[in-house]
């Protein structure tokens, strides 16, 4: 079974530029999550999708962050414009419907904002 795929692995941009991250979850996984992990901290949930609908985006800074999962499969997370404090690893995870807590994570996309 192929794991969660994320790209790019690394991205360096200057503040006020935009960036997009892509995630392809494990086949058949209905739930998809984007987490932000700042160095030295635990992952913080940004947005949770169930198929192509948003379940929770309460911690997503909507003035600059957006995410979509149009066909209920892969997802894109965008930041525009980026700030210095957005430097972090962006982790995508997926899970089967009804299996609380067992998330499968990708390797993450490391963003550095200069």
């Amino acid at each position: 079974e192929a794991g969660v795929a994320q790209s790019p692995r690394y991205k360096i941009i200057e503040k006020r530029q935009s960036v997009a991250f892509w995630c392809n979850p494990i086949s058949g996984h209905a739930t998809l999550y984007w987490y932000q992990q700042i160095l030295g901290q635990g992952p913080k949930l940004l947005i949770q999708f169930q198929n192509n609908g948003v379940v929770d985006d309460s911690q997503l800074p909507k003035d600059r962050f957006s995410a979509e999962r149009l066909k209920g499969v892969d997802s894109t997370l965008k930041i525009q414009p980026a700030k210095l404090e957005d430097s972090a690893v962006y982790l995508c995870a997926s899970s089967r419907w009804g299996t609380t807590g067992e998330l499968f994570f990708g390797e993450g996309s490391r963003l550095t904002v200069l």
């Binding site: 030295g40 982790l91 609380t100 067992e102 998330l103 994570f105 993450g108």
Partner: protein, 114 residues
């Protein structure tokens, strides 16, 4: 303040020694999950605890849940270099079990020395 506090923040242990990591929640736990993260990689699911007093083991790692104290502990017996990494506890702190929204602790960095 953090909803999930882990202690210690970092731990250096000689190979072959036992160790314990703790996770304490400020809210009612509806499930407690342990994950491991190696530097630059995503999180790997270790085990899930759902009932008070529940104890699970996987190889040399044992986790326990004390629902009354809103705490969980992760114990490693006879530590090996392969145990090195960051251990994160995650919990479903929502109002309904099965919310599938995980909040993570800040992590415990474990280093194993020869």
């Amino acid at each position: 303040s953090q909803e999930l506090e882990q202690s210690p923040q970092s731990l250096i242990v000689q190979e072959g020694k036992n160790l314990t990591i703790n996770c304490t929640s400020s809210k009612t736990l509806y499930g407690l999950y342990w994950y491991k993260q190696k530097y630059g990689e995503g999180l790997i699911f270790l085990m899930m605890l759902q009932k008070g007093g529940e104890e699970k083991s996987h190889e040399k790692i044992t986790a326990k849940l004390d629902e009354k104290k809103q705490q969980s502990s992760l114990h490693i017996t006879a530590s090996q270099p392969s145990h090195a990494g960051i251990y994160l506890c995650g919990a479903d702190l929502g109002t309904n079990f099965g919310n599938e929204k995980l909040t993570f602790g800040t992590g415990t960095r474990l280093t194993i020395i020869p």
